[in-house]
Symmetry: D2
Subunit: 384 residues, 4 copies
């Protein structure tokens, strides 16, 4: 099976996101890294791209790359957009319209209006527009979704999600530019911790329950004085399948290293999972004992099996979850090339609609936070 061709925009020398995507895309040998515009400084981008083996498909700008790849007989099959947040919209739009499948880093856009535009373009062009909510690639997260979809928990009553860490808790470090920009509206937009971390937890709540958020109420606070945007938020929400939601996100929770986790409670059972120990899923069927589902155990769902690489008892981690998103996309692209339907167990990558809903939720949190927890519509206008 020939490898698909993959290109990247952003992720230049010294970035964290570049190696992470190259690891994720290359891990299963499904994609070959063949083109890139890796830096907004043309020379640096071309030089770095060549050092990574891209040859004359190392471009000086995304515009050059778009033009160059369109001119190729055998252009890239997928492009990843990993540039600064404010440029995601423009680049994603251009590549979709240019006929390319896109995986865009989150946030997909900076406004709800842009998000709606991307959704429309993706629908019109028929191209894949994926958004990188990478935690949804974990094998046992997929299994939670499968269990809930097949009814193991009955009707879902409540979801409690968290993404709370302590890495921005040091007041002495708050003016450090590496940290400061995140809490500055001029650079980060309307939300800091919720937009950066909380949104992963909210996406996970939707992903595993299969329900969309309809409205929400937020209590946002800045625990360090110099910050304008929130470093801690509690969000209550409602979902279109009737579930109630609670979500806590924080960057001042000293003692917590990452803190993404989810609990789901239905009529017939409860589930609990944590990203820091992702190979175990705690499950209690109503009236029975708490039991531990292990990644890689026999007779899990197809969704779990597809995303599990090593045998039970061996740890798997985040890079493999990330690779699972790329594996989904490889299957989606191949299915199109081969005129067949996609393996349903792979049809789970987050997409433009998720990016749009997330953006609407971010704005709703910001508004509710300003208005004393007023319940706000969390849906983008086009989905109301």
């Amino acid at each position: 099976m020939r490898k698909l061709q993959w290109g990247m925009i952003g992720g230049g020398e010294g970035s964290q996101i570049g190696p992470a995507h190259r690891l994720g895309a290359g891990l299963d040998g499904l994609f070959e890294f063949t083109a890139g515009a890796l830096d907004h400084r043309p020379e640096e981008g071309i030089g770095y791209g060549r050092s990574l083996g891209l040859g004359d498909r190392a471009y000086g700008s995304w515009q050059d790359m778009l033009a160059g790849e369109k001119a190729q007989d055998n252009p890239i099959d997928l492009v990843t957009v990993a540039t600064p947040n404010s440029t995601h919209f423009e680049i994603t739009k251009a590549f979709l319209e240019g006929g390319f499948h896109v995986l865009c880093e989150k946030p997909m856009t900076m406004t709800v209006e842009e998000g709606e535009e991307i959704v429309k373009i993706a629908r019109t062009t028929g191209k894949i527009c994926a958004v990188n909510y990478g935690y949804s690639g974990y094998s046992l997260v997929r299994h939670m979704k499968a269990m809930i979809a097949r009814g193991d928990l009955g009707k879902i009553r409540l979801v409690n999600a968290e993404f709370a860490h302590g890495h921005h808790a040091d007041a002495a470090d708050a003016e450090n530019p590496r940290v400061r920009w995140r809490y500055d509206p001029a650079q980060a937009g309307v939300s800091a911790q919720f937009a950066d971390c909380g949104i992963h937890a909210l996406h996970m709540a939707s992903f595993v329950t299969g329900q969309d958020v309809t409205k929400l109420s937020a209590d946002t606070v800045s625990c360090i004085d110099v910050r304008v945007l929130e470093d801690d938020a509690m969000v209550n929400f409602r979902m279109d399948g009737g579930a109630v939601g609670r979500l806590w996100t924080s960057s001042i929770a000293i003692g917590r290293q990452h803190g993404l986790g989810i609990q789901v409670f239905g009529e017939k059972g409860g589930l609990r999972w944590s990203q820091e120990h992702p190979n175990q899923l705690y499950y209690m069927p109503l009236g029975e004992r708490l039991q531990i589902i292990e990644r890689g155990e026999a007779n899990l769902s197809p969704e779990a099996d597809r995303t599990s690489r090593v045998t039970i008892g061996h740890a798997e981690g985040m890079p493999l979850a990330f690779a699972n998103i790329y594996a989904d996309l490889a299957e989606a692209i191949r299915a199109r090339k081969e005129n067949r339907s996609i393996d349903p167990a792979a049809d789970l990558y987050p997409r433009a609609e998720d990016g749009l809903r997330s953006m609407a939720a971010v704005f709703a949190v910001a508004q509710s936070g300003k208005e004393d927890g007023l319940w706000c519509d969390a849906r983008p206008p086009m989905f109301r």
Copy 2:
């Protein structure tokens, strides 16, 4: 050292609360069980009291007991009120006014007005009026309070408390009278899960931080249709020392057995503790590693040492926490008898003011829950 004399109202044959109090009061040999009105049915109460060795100080009603003990040369030193909730006010009031020290089960009263009255009576009479928030007796909960008081965490930014279990999650069991009454306003008042469990978490937040709740916003829901009162609530709050609070309580969280826990985050460190594993306290000083404080380790605070009975590595549990409240009371009573000041490490039992503040918080949660999370004053009028 002669034992103090102790009496009990309520806690009749077959009750759970009776043996728990007798265990807690008797465990350290500080109190002797000498009087009781154990049942609202006079004959049963007298019979059961005699079977427990009370002789002619087994009474048929609390009124008889009040009269009888007042007539004793050597009356009881402390009375515990463990009757149905709606009678706490009347009995506590009568015994305080009769010159007795009282330990009242929670809730101390059914209304804020009654709570204020009890506080006033306690102040006027000078008698001890304690309220049984028993979880505050755990050794490492005491140590959290001591650490925060001496500044180990710096200014407290945020408290996140929980009391979420799954024992009322079975819809088929919701009509069971044993469960049902808790969610029925006619029997339970304005709140179910928050008043029953959440209030313990809120008390703990105040106890360890030394701050009082000023205002709150609540999202209360009933996940099972037949219930009028909430079985799940999220409460955001503010404290008078500047701390922000979040509190989740639930009775439909299948997979959780008890779920009382607290996380406290300050400028200089974070703490995490859980009732289900009460002998470990997780502590991260800012910029250092997470470390595990063990109950019974050397060089903890006087507050922790006083409430730790067995050597490090051995588990201690709830009955000992409960006994610590009684040990506090024994010290308070003795200090008065001996005209000396109380050991400050023992001066930590919850008191009428806590019972009153809790009642005000319950009403604020109920109001806020009805009004879409409106921020409500959580202080009793007399403390505004």
Copy 3:
């Protein structure tokens, strides 16, 4: 129900063991502390006993106490022997022969021969001779025994027990008299860490499987030079029901606080339990998932129910386990008084035969340790 009368020898002012026994014996209100010879110094013993309310049944020596109680119309029902190890034999023997039921601290004797003599005396006199392996009182330890007895695990293949802590790991502290005597043969006998801690793990292995140890091989080492006796030992053993055993004990395992735990593996399932978190028992039926049994859950065994005092989710700890041994003894004594058979769920207190087998195991470990792990018979001669 009248309380039984209880007396104690040893456990004088400032001791740890005295309060622990008084807590355990008094906790359920089954025993009244009525007599004692609490100190080998007559005046101190009498003075301390009187301060604890013993009146003229505070004796100056165990000999006086034996004589005094024999002369009572209503003598003590049970005596606890908590004196220095080398005196256990003599005192236990004298009280059994004097017609008293005895609970002896471990070790019951200093030699196997003495142990056999005690067993014979207990059998001849018909008096209860219990030995305080207190960890066997935990509710879930009782439940393990019940599960195995009823066949839940099938034939037991292997037991792996541990009691490894790090409290004697500091070489700078090794000459401290408080620590040193334990590793000195003149004071401690033939074994240090195994006799002190390991034996609890070995007793537990026998208690839960219902099998006796037949032979063993030991690797004993002293990790700190000045020690003659071992501070770390690994013991392999065989049991009379066919189980294989492994047991590790250490006092130099820095980072471990207590370390008593057991794993049992049978044809049909496995169990795992740890004293530091005694309210959970991990159970995997063959071919199914690991599940968590909680102390206090519904439908456990009668043995577990009898020894569980507070509701599920609340921690219970060591003092309650200790109290369960006393509760067993109260039931055993009452059954005799009432000429009825004992509740089988209470007939689980460790007895003289356990004390004897433990002593034989200690000597076998010492011998095997000296002879390069030679397999030695671990049975006392009278049971070969």
Copy 4:
């Protein structure tokens, strides 16, 4: 940086080991998979190799591959031998002698004599001969080694290692050929569970302490009757730096999924690590509290930093540990090509000497197991 060329022998279609190695070798983009003899059936091997993109460097036998690569202008830089155990010696020998660097799956050989021969050949030819003890690639395992090497624990007193799982506990499955061969001396050699799993724990004990095993005593048992070789073993050992060792391995420990873990105790501290949760390392400095070292935290050792890919709080797992071995080898090969010394933090891959020592330990365990735990020399003759 041009990728190194990598080839593989074994790992044909449907194998588990093939994808694991391709994942590990390719994960960081350091190696390109360019040659292979993937199946002992020539046509299948060539066909499968071509399907993986090997073109005419897909060979029908390892002999063809050896000849073919020797004839290449630009031959492979490293070959992985992942064939059935009994063929490792012959193939590894041939490739070393042919001038190739080799990574051999464990066991490196079937006898000690063969092991010594490989060591000599590796030394004579100067070629790299690595052996795949892949668990030594975990970042925090590297950090343990670094901590001990720099003296954080002082002199090491004791190591306690485990590799105990329950995947062969089903007697009904014991005759299944997939399981049975492992316990059959004709196919598996002198040891089953120790050679298969225990040896990883023993290697880890040597790896982290930097000490070699000198002698050992083993208790080996077969818990399922039809097995000739052991399914459970306890091994006591001594190391050349003075450390005492204990090692338990089992395949009948129902309830355990993997069970590789290690505890190390020195004069100045203790460490504990488990493969199932590899991103945390528990560390107690003598006299301080237990603290949790997180993979990816700041200021760890160069050895840990080099092998950590994602930020703190994100899980990393086994495939990345495996990739770290390949990354070590890439660095070793590049250093040779570039005539420079290897980065010391990468010079940690297990090598032929480790393979040889392991084989000697396997034979010593088998002998000791047969002779009632006789202490046996565990060193290969050439290292005595």
